[in-house]
């Protein structure tokens, strides 16, 4: 299968990309790494008149630190994130989660920003971004910049706070130095989408959990935080018994989908089991 005909634009600055986007309006698709977009175009599920490729814009790719924040350019590839010492040291959950995205070839091309803006509910990275309280820097017409917290970034299926005519340029992650982390992903086939996954990161003192953040993948139309589990884990020892008890409410308030991989109740069951496994592994890592 090949996509329908389109015009290809490869702007070399954010300003040019915004101008191209403003001119094309509805008829354009932004291409970051293209690893989700190209399958969609090949299957002709979408047929844009223009494809705007961001890969030739310098400055959108790279990882740096600013005080207590790790700053990741939207066009940074998954493999750059996985290989980054800064990310490993200060945002271990993000590193471990991104390492589970698709397969090595896809991770060489796919980008952090592209995956987050695509906002597939079964996509891995949203749960980690939510759990780590990431912030998203969005630039719009005329270069106007705004910053959106993760709690407001994910709006619905395949929909984020990034509006028509806007681009995501940066993801900012508050440092979680020394926190243990685990992304527990449940799949039928190694490189497939998560049926359910849990992103957990915890801070330990002695054998006690002093802080916990839990993000859930594919338990609804957007990534979710299991806040009741986070609260229940505080002050608990990282034992099987205590973590199991705290994880029992992981699926509370969620409305996960039913599909060929499992029905909604099964996903709720999985959320509890995977949360227990993720937290125990995070506490031991």
């Amino acid at each position: 299968m090949i996509p329908v005909q389109f015009d290809y634009l490869a702007p070399e600055s954010v300003e040019d990309a915004l101008a191209a986007l403003a001119e094309a309006g509805d008829d354009a698709k932004i291409m970051a790494g293209g690893q989700s977009l190209l399958p969609v175009l090949r299957l002709r599920l979408n047929s844009p008149e223009k494809v705007i490729d961001l890969s030739r814009i310098p400055g959108l790719r790279g990882i740096s630190e600013e005080g207590d924040t790790i700053v990741i350019g939207a066009m940074t590839t998954h493999s750059d994130v996985v290989e980054s010492e800064l990310v490993g040291q200060h945002a271990l959950l993000l590193q471990k989660t991104v390492a589970e995205v698709a397969d090595p070839q896809i991770r060489h091309r796919g980008t952090l920003g592209g995956a987050l803006v695509h906002a597939d509910p079964a996509g891995d990275i949203g749960a980690a971004a939510l759990a780590l309280d990431a912030e998203f820097v969005i630039v719009g017409p005329g270069g106007a910049t705004r910053t959106v917290p993760a709690s407001e970034f994910f709006v619905d299926l395949f929909e984020t706070a990034v509006q028509e005519g806007e681009l995501l340029t940066q993801v900012r992650i508050p440092k979680h130095t020394g926190w243990g982390a685990r992304y527990e992903k449940f799949v039928r086939v190694a490189h497939q989408w998560a049926i359910v996954a849990v992103a957990a990161t915890v801070k330990m003192e002695g054998g006690t959990i002093t802080e916990a953040r839990i993000g859930l993948t594919n338990m609804g139309s957007i990534p979710l935080r299991a806040t009741s589990v986070e609260a229940a884990l505080l002050g608990q020892p990282a034992t099987e018994e205590a973590v199991k008890a705290a994880s029992a409410t992981a699926a509370d308030g969620t409305n996960p989908p039913s599909d060929l991989n499992g029905d909604s109740d099964y996903r709720k069951h999985l959320a509890g089991v995977l949360t227990r496994r993720a937290v125990l592994a995070a506490a031991g890592s």
Binding site: M1, Q5, D53, D103
Partner: protein, 156 residues
């Protein structure tokens, strides 16, 4: 049409392509490099894996225009002066193929794997090849071939 210049297997090519042309179709149909195959057409199977600037990619999931100004290595560019690449030799030696359809992609991904991790464990090899499907071998001899190419002992 868009004009692109791409370095493929150490030769420079300049061609007119439609923007919608996939890299794999450019390689096969315009350059005649049919060693790289199309397997699933859904970016699952990895049969079309090539190296783009030294890193493995699925060439059905890259546009030819995105390769403009970049360097591509295909399975056809591995053997030098009639000598098989060590990974090709290891696949041959370990009987790491049956029908052979997945083999070009398997070999390209296996080389990428060893570039990143020269002495992987069996588990790391299996994880590193997660994006490449083989419907014949059960993967066992493929894993042995990668172990062999990495210079590690292979349990018989």
């Amino acid at each position: 049409m868009t004009r692109i210049t791409v370095q493929v297997d150490d030769e420079s090519y300049t061609d007119e392509v439609e923007p919608r042309t996939l890299l794999v179709h450019y390689l096969r149909e315009q350059l005649g490099k049919t060693g790289t195959v199309v397997g699933c057409d859904t970016s699952n199977c990895g049969a079309c894996t090539v190296h783009l600037d030294g890193r493995s990619v699925k060439s059905c999931n890259v546009l030819a225009v995105q390769a403009d100004g970049h360097e591509v290595t295909t399975i056809e560019g591995l053997a030098k002066n009639g000598e098989l690449h060590p990974m090709q030799a290891a696949f041959h030696e370990c009987h790491a193929l049956q029908c052979g359809y997945c083999t070009p992609g398997m070999i390209m991904q296996s080389i990428d794997l060893l570039n990143e991790n020269p002495t992987p464990t069996e588990k790391e090899i299996r994880a590193g090849l997660e994006g490449n499907l083989c419907r014949c071998t059960g993967y066992h001899n493929i894993v042995r071939a990668v172990q062999t190419a990495s210079g590690q002992e292979v349990a018989s």
